[in-house]
Amino acid sequence: IAGITQAPTSQILAAGRRMTLRCTQDMRHNAMYWYRQDLGLGLRLIHYSNTAGTTGKGEVPDGYSVSRANTDDFPLTLASAVPSQTSVYFCASRDTSKTGELFFGEGSRLTVL
């Protein structure tokens, strides 16, 4: 089934540990995004990528890094996790040439203790 796959779906992590959230899409969308969703704050953009090989910072990029080596994959890395990074993380993609809708993955719930 075409779409976006995120992994893991849920993870508990000790503070200070490194963690990579994986995101893969098979729709050949050029643009990909990482959002975090927190109660009362809505969806906030962490990083984005307009096309393979390029990335950009969103609203809340500190403590996170991304890479876009190819069209399909857009991993999000927390180099040294902190409790304030406890959140639900959504990966999304869209085909900007069609001004189309944003497709979301199912989310990754991360708890940093």
């Binding site: 969806l43 984005y48 497709f103």
Partner: protein, 112 residues
């Protein structure tokens, strides 16, 4: 800085009621406005609006955009408990339509 404001933040109604959710925005180089419904997990797409005054409709849901006054509304008629969700508004802007800015969402609870 682009800004999207949704109101109300939460709403409780009885089944059968009609509700109107609001989304206002201030963005540079507006491209489109999108509505999403989020239940347990990922947001699901409802509508994309690009032109003023043209209503989009899907069953009991409808939406319209006013580009002069910079807002959109989402109407739900004859609400059902299955309409309970967070409704998200997002705006795309910029030359390449790459940037999306989300509002904080409206949490709708429909009680029997």
């Amino acid at each position: 800085e682009d800004k999207v404001v949704q109101s109300p933040l939460s709403l409780v109604v009885h089944e059968g009621d009609t509700v109107t959710l609001n989304c206002s925005y201030e963005v540079t180089n507006f491209r489109s406005l999108l509505w999403y419904k989020q239940e347990k997990k990922a947001p699901t797409f409802l509508f994309m609006l690009t032109s003023s005054g043209i209503e989009k409709k899907s069953g009991r849901l409808s939406s319209i955009l006013d580009k002069k006054e910079l807002f959109s509304i989402l109407n739900i008629t004859a609400t059902q408990t299955g309409d309970s969700a967070i409704y998200l508004c997002a705006v795309t802007s910029g030359a390449g339509s790459y940037q999306l800015t989300f509002g904080k969402g409206t949490k709708l609870s429909v009680i029997p």
